[in-house]
């Protein structure tokens, strides 16, 4: 066998060697080029544009250095407002969908539960809807004239209720957050449930024998064992909260009186309504810095989890 092979073996020419060495690159050249041209380079350009005062279409750009960033932080009340709302949204998302998802997952994990498929299918269902559908549906649910929530208040209190949940600056943001929560809980539940499945049954049995009640075994077994999944979910939630756009734009468009503005909605209106392209680029770069830092932390955690 070996002898045969050496007999027909001819020394490859230099060109052949070069060709053979280049083969791995054939698999990556087009994907990389595509990614660089239509994703990576535009991201870099954002930083470049953020140093200019520019409307996005005229030929002249005025170089202003870091002025856009200085304005953003010292002079722009709406940016501060929007960024604060992002922080509120983050806290809200950590409390509502994440906690609710965790609780439901624990309940869903109860031993001997029948009908898991039904519960999973139902609770996950809102997550497959488009955010736009969720937004329009919940705008109806909150409707002051004829919405479900006002109707329920009427039924329970016996008094007519016409509260505009999305029209009141005090309640608008939390109302949108509740709609977003309704959509996302199933996702959190499924992920936490997957995490719960990795906890060995024996731990609970031992706790049971030792006389621990369910709350104690949740606190001393479930929570510590879920720490990795929880960390990942917390980071994902925070990243998602700083990117949030669709549901806010479609439900309130940042109003009433800027009550629900977030960084992304401000950026879009600076760029496309006020034609302050360079300034909007500065917005997007601030978002980049926040999210990239968080993503970096996340990838680090993720890598440790995968065990690379």
């Amino acid at each position: 066998m070996d002898i045969e092979r050496t007999m027909i073996y001819e020394k490859p020419s230099r060109l052949q060697i070069l060709w053979r060495k280049s083969i791995p690159y054939h698999f990556i050249i087009i994907p990389l080029a595509f990614y660089l041209i239509f994703f990576f380079i535009p991201a870099i350009q954002s930083f470049y544009y953020s140093f200019f005062e520019w409307d996005g279409f005229s030929a002249e750009k005025l170089f202003v250095g870091l002025q856009n960033y200085v304005d953003l932080i010292t002079d722009d009340k709406l940016f501060i407002k929007a960024f604060t709302n992002n922080i509120y949204w983050t806290i809200g998302s950590l409390v509502l969908p994440l906690m609710l998802g965790l609780i439901l997952a624990v309940v869903f994990n109860s031993k001997g539960l029948i009908g898991r498929n039904f519960f999973r299918t139902s609770i996950f269902m809102p997550y497959v809807l488009s955010t736009i559908v969720v937004a329009l549906l919940w705008s109806e649910i909150y409707n002051p004239q004829n919405g479900i929530i006002n109707k329920l208040i009427e039924v329970f209190t016996g008094e007519p209720s016409r509260f505009a949940f999305l029209g009141n600056p005090k309640t608008a943001l939390i109302s949108v957050l509740i709609a977003a929560t309704w959509q996302a809980v199933g996702f959190y539940m499924v992920i936490f449930y997957a995490g719960l499945q990795t906890i060995p049954e024996e731990l609970y049995e031992v706790a049971d024998i030792e006389g621990a009640n369910p709350i104690q075994s949740f606190y001393y077994i479930t929570l510590p064992m879920l720490r990795e999944v929880t960390t990942v979910m917390v980071v994902i939630t925070i990243i998602g909260s700083f990117k949030v756009f669709d549901i806010i734009y479609t439900m309130t468009q940042g109003g009433p009186i800027y009550a629900t503005e977030v960084t992304a909605t401000r950026m879009i209106s600076e760029a496309f309504s006020h034609n302050r392209f360079g300034y909007a680029a500065a917005y997007s770069c601030v978002m980049f810095l926040v999210i990239a830092t968080l993503s970096f932390i996340y990838l680090r955690l993720n890598r440790r989890r995968v065990g690379e």
Partner: protein, 301 residues
């Protein structure tokens, strides 16, 4: 034969009864499980009711919407469906979303599979560095690329064409898809490729004939995630597409119903149901793949 069939028919009932007994026993032994049922039933109701409500609303008349807000419709009025399907562009939007999402998914697969294979299985100079470059894309939020990308599309004269959506979608989907596929290819034994090469097959054939059949589970995850992701994308589609003819579902539904029908509840909910129905049906049929795909993909954050 006769006996056999009867036995078969009886078997499930027996199991059913057994299950019920077990169920009752369990509740007696551990009353906590009752609480679990109460919580899950309440939350399942909260999840499902708005969706069902949307469906009920679409079947009510304008009068009934006000007299009977919460319950089932007294008579099922399907005419709103006819109205929305014939007088609005909603069917067209669905079609647009379907083919734009399909092309995007095919594009992502066509680029991410070979790249994932090369990064995960082959040794070459710069493997790690180039992969890191790609990985940086996961950390860059889409919003950072929007403004320059918009100018780029304008320069290439692609605004208001479907390509202004498809091309950036593919580029934005690539980093994470490649990351996932690389991980998958790394989990496959290296000997497979080595053996095939020794036998005289070229790397292309290894990729296509040896690796491809093994990657099927990962591919279905990618398909579900990226199809849904493209289907639901809103911000970019809204910016680059002003021609009604090529609008996707999200933007089309938003502009149509936000402006014209916001106060015509039956019509609005009808539109929402029409847009949602295909997704929910596919979800109910392919639940497992769907949940897997959506959760695996969404972990990219």
């Amino acid at each position: 034969m006769q006996v056999n069939i009867e036995q078969r028919a009886e078997a499930p009932m027996f199991v059913e009864g057994n299950r019920l007994n077990k169920f009752v026993k369990r509740i007696r032994r551990k009353p906590v499980i009752l609480l679990a049922y109460v919580i899950l039933i309440i939350y399942a109701f909260i999840s499902l009711y708005p969706i069902l409500w949307m469906f009920f609303m679409s079947l009510k008349t304008d009068v009934e919407v006000h007299t009977n807000l919460l319950g089932l419709p007294q008579e099922w009025h399907w005419e709103h469906y006819v109205h929305v399907l014939t007088t609005t562009r909603v069917p067209r939007y669905i079609l647009n979303s379907a083919w734009i999402s399909a092309v995007t998914v095919i594009g992502i697969l066509a680029l991410a599979l070979p790249a994932g294979f090369a990064f995960g299985q082959l040794k070459f100079k710069g493997n790690n560095a180039l992969f890191m470059l790609l990985l940086a894309g996961i950390m860059i939020p889409g919003q950072t690329t929007i403004l320059p990308l918009f100018l780029q599309m304008k320069r290439f004269d692609l605004l208001d064409t479907p390509w202004a959506m498809i091309i950036p979608y593919i580029a934005a989907g690539l980093p994470f898809a490649t990351f996932l596929m690389r991980g998958f290819y790394r989990s496959l034994p290296k000997e497979l490729a080595d053996a095939a090469v020794v036998d005289g097959a070229s790397l292309y054939r290894v990729f296509w004939d040896v690796m491809m059949p093994l990657t099927r589970p990962a591919i279905s995850t990618l398909i579900v995630f990226y199809f849904m992701w493209t289907w639901n994308e809103f911000l970019w589609a809204m910016l680059v597409m002003n021609r009604d003819l090529y609008k996707t579902v999200t933007v089309g539904v938003f502009t149509t119903f936000q402006r014209q029908y916001m106060f015509d509840w039956p019509l609005l909910t009808t539109g929402l149901v029409i847009v949602t129905m295909p997704i929910i049906l596919v979800y109910l049929i392919f639940q497992r793949q769907f949940i897997q795909g959506l959760t695996a993909g969404a972990l990219k954050g």
